[in-house]
């Protein structure tokens, strides 16, 4: 036996340390489809509780949309369950190719390549297109998957202060001597819900002859007038060289991601990106579902318009109730509590009130910036939002934080 007691004890020790630090993650089992109303078993073994989901990335409410389900069923019937192959051997169907074309059209780019996930897109793309002559300059708050991708790439690396354009410009000047410069940002930042200054970034990139990379996972489908993403909203369609995004959030929520952008870059990914070469791509069922999602979104902006209204209502309601929010105008609305334990206590009390919203604290967010991140969906109806608001106010009163400033909350509960 190679898994000796000594090894086991060491691992148990490590797990205990995570528990002691109060950052042990526990899953909650959902016994229903993903939607505004869900049935949850938590803790394990307890009876099911019906709660309103305020923390999913199901921004457009398409995860269980009947037309998407129907399309997925048809995909299953006509193209089968699995491919049992990576793309370049015998794992590419006509619908994979079709989805690549449809995504290209939707995002307004030159070409697209699918990846098993956006995590895979981000971990594969930099290594495939950059060399040690090049530099990647990333915003300090980019998603973890981009950080992993940067780590895997041979290019040099630097960072700039979050959304700080002066600092970015300094970095571009510092690296004038590099062959290629790639500026890297998220479109909407998932923890704060703020939006990248993409127009200014595109201008800076032009001025310093740099390429621009955008991860639009928390924007694709609903940010911008017709939901094309942050580049639409900031008026820089066609000026972003590489866009990565996921089909695991607004765009149906199942799984899969892509790299979309300049056609040479996409082609180089097809030749060299390791997660594309060595892992099966998106299953036919999911491809069929995403195709339907893009069709729905191309026909009407109804869902993203409703999402925008819902988010406005929610943000206004919380503000008027006296909560401290992170500023922004996306469906990600972080309720700031600063203290980690307070965020856990409030999350638990909300759950008792039938509201499912999770507390985030260090190291997921910076120290002293604990919060409950709420995420609004087009799947929420007015009554969901009103009930959730009522619950937030009730719990807010209990902890006496309504109308309090950041300093007052910290004075009361500590960082």
């Amino acid at each position: 036996m190679s898994f000796s007691d000594k090894i086991r004890e060491q691992y148990q020790d490590q797990l205990r340390q995570i528990q002691d630090a109060g950052i042990f993650k526990q899953e909650r089992f959902i016994h229903s489809s993903q939607a505004a109303d869900i049935e949850v078993e938590f803790p394990e073994g307890s009876s099911l509780q019906r709660v309103i989901n305020m923390c999913s990335n199901n921004y457009l409410g398409l995860s269980s949309h009947p037309d998407v389900l129907k399309a997925a069923h048809e995909g299953l019937d006509h193209r089968g369950y699995g491919m049992s192959s990576v793309r370049f051997i015998c794992g590419t169907q006509d619908i994979h190719h079709e989805l690549e074309r449809k995504v290209t059209e939707f995002l307004g780019t030159e070409a697209t390549i699918l990846f098993p996930s956006c995590m895979d897109a981000n971990t594969g793309v930099f290594e495939a297109v950059l060399t040690d002559q090049d530099v990647m300059i990333s915003d300090r708050l980019v998603h973890a998957s981009i950080i992993d991708g940067i780590r895997l790439a041979p290019a040099q690396h630097d960072t700039f202060k979050h959304s700080n354009m002066d600092h970015l410009e300094k970095k571009l000047q510092l690296h004038v001597d590099k062959r290629f410069k790639l500026v890297i940002t998220d479109g909407v930042f998932s923890m704060d819900g703020d939006t990248a200054k993409l127009a200014e970034m595109a201008d800076l990139c032009e001025k310093y002859d740099a390429m621009l990379f955008l991860d639009d996972s928390h924007s694709s489908g609903f940010i911008g007038k017709t939901g094309r993403g942050t580049h639409e909203r900031c008026g820089v369609m066609g000026r972003v060289d590489i866009i990565t995004t996921t089909f695991g959030k607004a765009l149906g929520g199942a799984s899969g991601g892509c790299v979309s952008g300049r056609k040479e870059i996409v082609e180089l990914c097809r030749q060299k990106a390791r997660p594309y070469l060595f892992s099966n791509t998106i299953a036919p069922v999911v491809v069929s579902g995403v195709l339907k999602v893009l069709e729905i979104l191309s026909q009407s902006t109804e869902r993203r318009d409703k999402l925008e209204k819902n988010a406005e209502f929610w943000r206004r309601g919380l503000t008027e109730a006296g909560f401290v929010l992170k500023e922004g105008d996306t469906p990600i609305v972080p309720v700031m509590l600063f203290n980690a334990k307070l965020s856990q206590d409030i999350s638990r009390d909300l759950y008792t009130e039938g509201i499912y919203a999770i507390g985030f604290f260090f190291p997921v967010v910076p120290q002293g910036q604990a919060r409950i991140r709420t995420q609004i969906s087009a799947g929420h109806e007015q009554h969901h939002l009103e009930k959730a608001l009522e619950a937030f106010i009730k719990v807010g009163k209990k902890y006496d934080i309504l109308g309090k400033t950041k300093q007052e909350i910290i004075a009361q509960y500590g960082m």
Binding site: R140, I147, I150, H157, D158, T159, K161, H162, K171, F362, P363, P366, Q367
Partner: protein, 81 residues
């Protein structure tokens, strides 16, 4: 020669603090205190290497060795010889 500590302190303030009036001393924990994340440490390393014409081997550029301005100064002196 201006003290290494002051030069490094100035750089860390400008490079990492959002608000340059924030308090920062030679001993403030940089990485364990969440001011510099280990990922963004690269620019600090590059700054030291350029400024002092040294090369800091990866095994010495640990989050522990970079955890305060004082520790960084020790490291630089050690490598610069």
């Amino acid at each position: 020669m201006e003290d290494i500590k002051d030069i490094v302190l100035e750089y860390v303030k400008e490079e990492y603090l959002e608000d340059e009036d924030e308090e920062l001393t030679y001993e403030t924990p940089l990485i364990s205190g969440g001011i510099v994340d280990s990922f963004s440490m690269v620019s600090l390393k590059r700054f030291l290497e350029t400024k002092y014409s040294i090369s800091i081997p990866d095994e010495k550029a640990t989050p522990e060795a970079f955890d305060s301005v004082s520790k960084i100064a020790v490291l630089v002196r050690e490598i610069a010889g």
